[in-house]
Symmetry: C2
Subunit: 227 residues, 2 copies
């Protein structure tokens, strides 16, 4: 097997000194006991830190809570799988028979794990600065798309603004139920938005928290509808 | 205020180019709005990755699940607070009035957060390799104390072996209760060890899982007693 993968080298912007590391990163556990699971552990760590460091530098005005939230969105499986598809990583994966037949080449979890393993392999091959550059390159668009203002605003505010832009009337919130003992009540509210087929529920330890959760779900539903 | 902290420089094995970074890392939010919370976010990331990379290199025979478990023990608050005490970090902290009075200098969470912030500050000051060296130095004893064999064994086996070494007779396990619907039962067991004043409980989704949890708690109790 050639260890070079010139297309991947090109799209990653990184050429491995030791191509065997890249091969291992692309080998799923269904294929071999010499697979990418340990490299994935390493790569998950380096990705989390690389993104943390990038966000820290880029958004000096955000608090650690806001940075944590932003990072969670950037390192989650769906985001990683999307990046892996852009790299056409699926075509380079070594999969066992069962995974091959069941479409493992395009499964989010397999793609995301393999991309993390590739990050781990680059760290092994050339150290932190090398993999930090690769990660920053891959995330360039995602990072450019972050609006720090919107991170700073709470979900109710963001929902309100989204609806205003579309000239939809304002959402309404209703408390449906308060459950639990007086000292540990949970509030269940619903948020009705004219654009959504049915109200969206939220739950929290305060009415405000429940409303924020409902607003967040309503906004996600609207964004998914309008995407 | 002097930004030098020669004792801390000595015990960390690191001299800051920009002493203002160290000052910020040592400033609790109760003291100033220019505090260590963002540096803690950065430092948490670099610590997790530095420990991951060290464990990956040191224990080529462990799986990613075992590495994850080992890392969790090394980066948890109690471990960090212990390291911070060894550095006498509490004496250098900038705390507000309330935290000062209530003993914040020796609170686990404040110490652990400040040590993470110091790691973040070193990364900012000099990059990953510099902070990786400092972390490896601080964790030298903890890492040397890891027995990869014991990580590989489950708690019941380890408890058994510990008791054998001390010539204490074997533990006994009893199911106390099975709760929940048939398809989602939880087992509550107790583990009796001659050396412990009372049986230790464990809970799990299977009898085996509950026994392992009880064994783990019993072993911890024995180790604490014998420490």
């Amino acid at each position: 097997m050639s260890g070079a993968h010139p297309e991947l080298t090109q799209s990653l912007g990184y050429r491995f000194r030791d191509p065997a590391l890249l091969e291992r990163a692309l080998t799923h556990r269904s294929k071999s006991s010499d697979n990418n699971e340990r490299l994935e552990f390493l790569g998950d760590g380096v990705l989390n830190f690389s993104i943390a460091a990038t966000l820290y530098e880029r958004f000096p005005q955000l608090t650690e809570g806001e940075l944590t939230r932003l990072r969670a969105g950037l390192v989650r499986m769906e985001t990683l799988a999307g990046l892996a598809r852009r790299l056409r990583l699926g075509g380079f994966l070594g999969l066992g028979g069962g995974e091959l037949k069941s479409g493992g080449h395009d499964r989010d979890s397999i793609l995301a794990d393999a991309l993390e393993a590739v990050f781990g392999a680059i760290y092994e091959d050339a150290g932190f600065e090398a993999v930090h550059r690769v990660i920053q390159g891959l995330y360039r668009d995602a990072l450019a798309g972050i609006d720090p203002q919107s991170v700073l605003k709470d979900p109710k505010t963001r929902l309100q603004e989204y609806l205003q832009k579309q000239s939809i009337s304002t959402p309404s919130y209703n408390v449906l139920e308060i459950v639990g003992e007086p000292h540990q009540q949970r509030f269940i509210v619903e948020c009705s938005v004219p654009g959504l087929p049915q109200p969206v529920r939220g739950e929290g330890l305060s009415r405000r928290a429940a409303e924020q959760q409902a607003a967040s779900s309503a906004l996600e539903a609207l964004l998914a509808r309008d995407a």
